[in-house]
């Protein structure tokens, strides 16, 4: 291996998977999901084990956790937080409200899921989303974060979920009795369901 190769490979070595910092924003959530997000910081789940820090600061964060559906009031806030985050970044929609609007979908003031405003990378359904599912979703988000970083290194455009919709949507599903997450053809079916 020549020196140049070594430098190139060390450049590709990514630590982004070891240190995902999170910002959590409560859009129009009922607060059920937010309690679960915070629950994952407690001693029982302790996401800091994986290097996760709940920064509360868009400039520091790599992963944007949004709970609740979107309405006119929180739309500009979501957009601003998203724009303030530094690439590479991913968005995780937590809870069924954030995925699609959930029980509030039909309300006259609700615009629907988070993907109506910003591109979403990982959908984590559940009402309220369970901490296990949330951690699973964050782990999936870390994978996407890594792919985005690779794309940045190659000088390719950062893959946006707009490209990902149609292709394959990341779905994390945790039923109360923990049925295995759907794979392959089921996954895309499930994805359509969630949308």
């Amino acid at each position: 291996m020549s020196v140049m190769d070594k430098i190139a490979s060390s450049k590709r070595e990514s630590f982004i998977t070891n240190s995902p910092w999170i910002i959590h924003y409560d859009a129009a959530s009922c607060n059920g999901c937010d309690i679960e997000v915070l629950a994952s910081l407690t001693p029982l789940f302790d996401v800091e084990r994986f290097g996760v820090v709940n920064t509360g600061n868009p400039r520091h964060a790599d992963i944007f956790l949004v709970t609740g559906s979107v309405n006119e009031q929180c739309k500009p806030v979501i957009e601003q937080i998203y724009n303030q985050m530094v690439e590479p970044k991913v968005v995780v929609a937590c809870g069924i409200c954030a995925c699609s609007g959930g029980v509030f979908k039909q309300c006259y003031n609700t615009m629907g899921g988070i993907d109506q405003v910003i591109p979403v990378d990982v959908y984590v359904p559940g009402c309220a989303v369970r901490p296990q599912a949330l951690i699973d979703g964050v782990v999936k988000a870390i994978g996407i974060l890594r792919a985005k970083r690779e794309a940045m290194l190659d000088g390719k455009p950062v893959p946006t979920p707009a490209l990902r919709v149609g292709a394959e949507l990341e779905v994390v599903r945790h039923s109360p009795d923990d049925e295995p997450a759907p794979t392959g053809a089921d996954a895309s079916d499930a994805a359509k369901e969630t949308k």
């Binding site: 001693p43 920064t55 509360g56 400039r59 530094v86």
Partner: protein, 296 residues
């Protein structure tokens, strides 16, 4: 002797950040265990640093970056001056310069959280500065010189003569290490009242530079604790290391058990402690003097 100084200086430049990183990692683990959590891996601060280096640059980072690199250089030069046994005074002045550069760099950010954080930084400098100067005077009274290297020739450890100065240095150490009860509610501990304080507007490389500066700083202030135990006997280094370990554990314990105080309490507390300790501890020197020295 000169070669030993140069060697120690180089060792500090090279090993300082490594040690600082390990201390920060151990700190996070011990903190987590105190809260009955498992905590991150030991090398987590290193992973965080590498992650920050991978993030994109923002256009307005450049000026901040220049100032912060200057702060880093000032910290390192100050640390070399201290660990190589040169002037302790130079060390504290350069530390102050680094804090000021950091404050100027941070105040470029326009966010109100940054402004609150910067105000708090300035107050903190006001709080710990008198105590650092008193420590410098203490060294002078003890050895007759401001050089930290002169402690290596002393027959008794400085803590014997200056116990109160030592205790009040521990008091301001909590401020220096940004620990509760004197820290701000910023996101290092999942508190988010003022987001990330002075560093709210920084990201990626700029934040990484701050992180490294902080590692050096930790090693330097722990060095200040250690110097109270150094004598001409080489075994005293072990004693100093033991003292540093105990002090740091104590700091983590205080961090986890004390509620955060308002800045007024911090300012009054730090000044009263420094003045009382300074007056009481230095007054015997008026009459006795050490090493044949009278007060000034």
């Amino acid at each position: 002797m000169v070669w030993l100084s140069i060697l120690l200086g180089i060792l500090f430049v090279v090993l300082g950040p490594v040690l600082g990183c390990l201390i920060a990692g151990a700190d996070r683990i011990v903190t987590a265990r105190m809260q009955r959590r498992q905590g991150p891996p030991l090398l987590q601060p290193y992973y965080d640093l590498r992650k920050l280096l991978e993030k994109d640059m923002r256009a307005n980072d450049v000026v901040q970056l220049i100032l912060l690199v200057m702060a880093l250089v000032a910290t390192v030069v100050g640390g070399v001056s201290f660990f190589a046994g040169a002037s302790f005074l130079l060390c504290i002045f350069l530390e102050t310069l680094a804090s000021l550069l950091y404050i100027v760099a941070a105040s470029i950010g326009s966010s109100p959280f940054v402004q609150v954080g910067v105000q708090r930084e300035i107050l903190q400098v006001m709080c710990y500065e008198p105590m650092e100067l008193l420590t410098a005077i203490g060294i002078y009274l003890h050895t007759g010189s401001y050089a930290s290297g002169s402690l290596g020739a002393a027959s008794v450890p400085m803590v014997m003569w200056l116990p109160l100065i030592f205790l009040s240095l521990l008091f301001v150490l909590t401020i220096k290490l940004r620990k509760s009860p004197f820290d701000v509610a910023s996101s290092h501990h999942a508190h988010q009242e003022i987001i990330a304080g002075a560093t709210t507007e920084m990201s990626g490389l700029t934040l990484a530079v701050i992180e490294v500066t902080h590692w050096y700083e930790t090693v330097i202030v722990l060095g200040w604790v250690g110097m109270f135990f150094i004598t001409s006997n080489p075994l005293s280094i072990l004693l100093a290391l033991l003292a540093v370990a105990i002090v740091y554990l104590l700091e983590i314990w205080v961090d986890n058990t004390f509620a955060r105080v308002k800045w007024q309490v911090m300012l009054k507390g730090a000044w009263i402690v420094a003045l009382v300790a300074g007056f009481v501890n230095f007054s015997p020197f008026f009459f006795v003097g050490t090493n044949g020295l009278l007060f000034f």
